[in-house]
Symmetry: C2
Subunit: 531 residues, 2 copies
Amino acid sequence: MRRRSWWGWGWEDQAVGGNDLAAIAAAIAKRPGFENLDGEIANPPSPDDLDLRRPRIEAPPSIGAHTSAGNHDRASHSLGKAFRDVVRALAGDVTHPPDLVAYPSTEEHVVELLDWCASANVAAIPYGGGSSVVGGIEPRFADGGDGDFAGVVSIDLTGLDRVLEVDTVSRAARIQGGALGPVLEEQLKAHDYTLRHFPQSFEFSTLGGWLATRSGGHYATVYTHIDDLVESMRVVTPAGISESRRLPGSGAGPSPDRLFLGSEGSLGIITEAWMRVQDRVKFKASVSARFPTLQHAAEACRAIAQSALFPTNCRVLDGGEATSAGVIDGSSLLLVGFESADHPVDTLAQRAVELVTDHGGTVPDGIRSSSTEGAAGAWRNSFIRAPYGRDALTRLGIVVDTFETACTWADFPNLHAEVTAALTKAMDEVCGGGSITCRFTHVYPDGPAPYFTVMAPGRRGSQLAQWDELKAAAGDALLAAGGTITHHHAVGRDHHRWYDRQRPQPFAAALKAAKHALDPAGVLNPGVIVG
Amino acid sequence: MRRRSWWGWGWEDQAVGGNDLAAIAAAIAKRPGFENLDGEIANPPSPDDLDLRRPRIEAPPSIGAHTSAGNHDRASHSLGKAFRDVVRALAGDVTHPPDLVAYPSTEEHVVELLDWCASANVAAIPYGGGSSVVGGIEPRFADGGDGDFAGVVSIDLTGLDRVLEVDTVSRAARIQGGALGPVLEEQLKAHDYTLRHFPQSFEFSTLGGWLATRSGGHYATVYTHIDDLVESMRVVTPAGISESRRLPGSGAGPSPDRLFLGSEGSLGIITEAWMRVQDRVKFKASVSARFPTLQHAAEACRAIAQSALFPTNCRVLDGGEATSAGVIDGSSLLLVGFESADHPVDTLAQRAVELVTDHGGTVPDGIRSSSTEGAAGAWRNSFIRAPYGRDALTRLGIVVDTFETACTWADFPNLHAEVTAALTKAMDEVCGGGSITCRFTHVYPDGPAPYFTVMAPGRRGSQLAQWDELKAAAGDALLAAGGTITHHHAVGRDHHRWYDRQRPQPFAAALKAAKHALDPAGVLNPGVIVG
C-alpha cells in the first residue's frame, strides 16, 4: 500500500531522489550565491529509529481501541509540512510528539474523545491531512513547550470520510470532515458532481481542515475561499454539538458558520458540512498574456478583477515565477481562465484579451479552449509538484519557503517593494544571497492575494535559525505594508504573533470569551487562534 | 424642509391621502372577504399631543448639547416601521419612548455616549434610519417592559454621514455609518462611483444599519447581502474601538467583520466602513418571462441560479404578485436582469432566455436593453411605493405584512405549501379570510429567498392581536419547513424567539460570552441577538 511520507510532503514514492536529486543539486550549485553548498544530501531517519519520549497518558478502555501509540503514527502526527517541519524531521528532531494518535471512525468517538480530554486535562489536536505549513497541528504549546497538560492526543479524522447525502435539486452534498480531497471527489463523481476545491495540498488535506483554516482553492475570483461554498456545518465542541441549518443565505444574526470557519480546531471539531457542489465543467477558455513588468501585469489583472467577468483562474506570475511556465525572457505572465458547466465562455475570454491589450499585454497564443494546455498547464503541473521539490532543496541545505498575503490594489506596489527589499536584505545578511519571486493566487475587485517564494543558500545545521530570521523579516514587512499575515495558509502557531498584532483587540477579547464558553477546559488546539 | 413621518413610512408628504386613499378604500371593499371593513380611516395623532412619560434621566453636560428630549424626537425614535409599529403609532400608543435622543456628530461623541451609558446603567439603542420592521430600535426590553435600566437613550447616527475617503485604485470608499442611502450615493457620484446597494428602505436606512442587520440589496446573486461588499469595519464598543484591516480577503482566523455583521447594535456601534464600490453601469439587458405556475418559474430560476450567469436581478413573482407588474392572467413571472460597467451582457441574457424556454417559459417581449422598462420597471416602481400603500391599508383597518426567508431548492415546494396553508388557516380563523402572495428577492445556487405578503381584513382595535397570531403561524411554519426566520429583515425583538430556536445553542453561548466581553454592562440594544 502506498504510504504517506512521515517527514516530508505527500507520498513516500514521490519524493525526489536518486539521479533527479543529483541533477537538482548540480543545477542549483551553478546559480549565483549557491556555489558554496556543501553537496551533502540529508536523509530522513526511519521513524522506528526515533527515540520518542514515552506516552505520558493512556486512553480509557472505551477509547483505547481507536488509538495508537506506535512510533510511525506518533512521528507522522508530530509535525506539519512546512520547511521548518521538514528540517526538523530530517534531523530526527521530534521533541513534542503526541502521546497518542486517535482514529475516530464515528462522530460519537469524537464526542467521547473530547469528553475524555476535557476531564483528564489532555490537549486535543484535530488532525485532518496534516498538511499545515504554520505549525497548526504540532503539539507545541506555551513557550514552545508542553504547557500544563497531562498529555496530548492527536485526533486523526480521516476515518470520517464519507459523502453521506447528496441533494441533486439544491446541488449540495453532506460530507464528513475527514474526507481527503480525492476521497470526496471520487464519491461526488458518482453523482456527476465536483466540489472543485483544489488547493495545492488537495491530495493531502481534508474538508474539515479546509473549513477550519479557510482554505483557498480553485476559484481565483468570487468563491476564493472554501467559506463561500458552505451551506451548513456540524461542529463537535466540549459544550455540545453546534449544527447550523441548511440555508443558502440568512440574515439572522452573525453567521454561526463564520465563527467556526478559520477557528483552526480551537473551538471545535468539524465533523460534517453541507457543501455547495458543482456540475462538471463543459466549456473552457484560457488566455496566457505577457507583460514587460510585474506592475503592468498587475494593472491588467486589476482591470479584469474589477470587470465582473469572474474568471476561474486569474493568476499573475512575475518574471521569476514565469520560468516554471516555460517563459524565460523575463516577461511577467497573466494567466486567465474561464470555465462553465452551462455555457460557452469565449465571449468572456475575448473581453479579457481586450483588457490585456489595453494594458500593454500580448497574447501570443490567442484564446485556448482548454485551460490545461499551454503555459497555464505547464505552470499547473509545476504547482502540484512544487512541495516535493521544496523537500529536495531542503535536503540539499537550502532555505526555501513560501508565504502569502492579501492587500488592496493601492497598497500592492509598495507592499511588493517593501517585502522584496526586506527579504533581500535579510537573505543577504543571513544567507549571503538568495532569490524572491511573486505571483497572485487569487484576486478581488479591491486587491490581490500575492504569494512569495524565497530561496536562499543555507548553512547545514543553521537552516532553522536562518528561516526564523527570514520569516520575521517577511511577517513584519507584510504587516507594515498593510497586508495580512495569511490569505489561505492559516495562522497556526507560527503566525500567531503577527495575527495577534493585526486583529482588532476587542475582537480578540470576544473570541477568547467565545472559546471559553465552548471549551472551558481549554484543551482544544491550545495556543492556536486564542493565544 | 421635507419631514420624515413620525408614525409611518418615509416622507410625510408621500403618505397616501385624500382621494387616493378613498379610492383604495373603495377598491379594497370590493375584494372578496374585505366587504365588511368599517370604512373608517385612522389618522395619526400629532406627536405634540402624545402624552409621553417624562424623561427619567438627564445627560451629563458634556453630552447634553447633542441630545434632545423633545416630543417629536422621542416619538419618532420610539417605534420602527413595521405594521405593528404603524398600528400603535396611529393609536398614539407610545408606551416605551426613549428618554433622550442623542445626535452624535463625531465618533468621539459616540464613545462618550457609550461610556456614559455603561457607567450610568442607561440602555443605548443605536438608530440609523429607523426603518426596522422587527422591533430592532424599540426601547422594549425584558418581558416587553423597561428592564432594569435607569433610562434609555436612542443614538441617532445620521450626523455621521460623510464619505471620508475614496481609493480609486482599489475601488473602495471609507464611509461613515450614519450615511443614508441617497446621502452616500450623492457623495460617491462625485467620483463616478456607486455602492449599488438598494434595499426597499434605501432612502430611509443607513450604511451602519445595513451592516448591523445584514441588509439584502440590489444584487440578486453573488453580492446578495451587504456583507459581501465590506472591506473593513470600525466599531465602537464599550471595550474599545474594533477596527479591522483593509483586506480584500484574509484567512487569518475567524473573520472579525463577520462577528459584527448581523449583530444589530448588540455588540457595538459601526461608525465607519471601507466598502467596495462599483463603477456606474453602462450595459443592461433584461428578460421578463411568463410561466403557467409558480413552480415552473422557480425551476427556471433554479437553472439560472445554478448556471453561474450571475444576473443582477433574478426575481420570481407568483400570479398574485405579478399583477403589480401589470400581468393579470395569473401567470407567474421571472424577471432576469444583467448589468455591467465593463462589457455588453446580451450573450448572458440570451442564455437566460434559453434556460427559460427549456423550462416551459415564454418571453413575449424578448430581451430589453434596459432593466428599467417593461414589467420589471413597473414592478420596481410599485416596490418602492409599497410601504406607503401598506400604511394606507393599515389606516383602513387591514392587517398587512411581509415576511421573508431562505431555504434550499429541495425544500422550497414544501415550504411554500406549508407556509401558505398555515397562513391561510390563520387568516381564516383570525380575520375571516385574506390573501398571501410570494416572490423571490434573491437566489443562490442552492436555494431561493422567498418573500411573502399577507393581507387580511382586520377588526379595528384588534389588528395587533390578529397580527400576532398570523406572525406566530408564519414563523412556526417557516422554521418547521427548514427556513430561516429572516433572510434580510433581521431579528430585532419580534423575531427573537424563532431566532433562538434556529441557531445552534453552542453558538448562542459563544455569542453571549462575546457580548459580555465587549459590553460588560449589557447596555447595548438589550434583548436583541443576545437574549
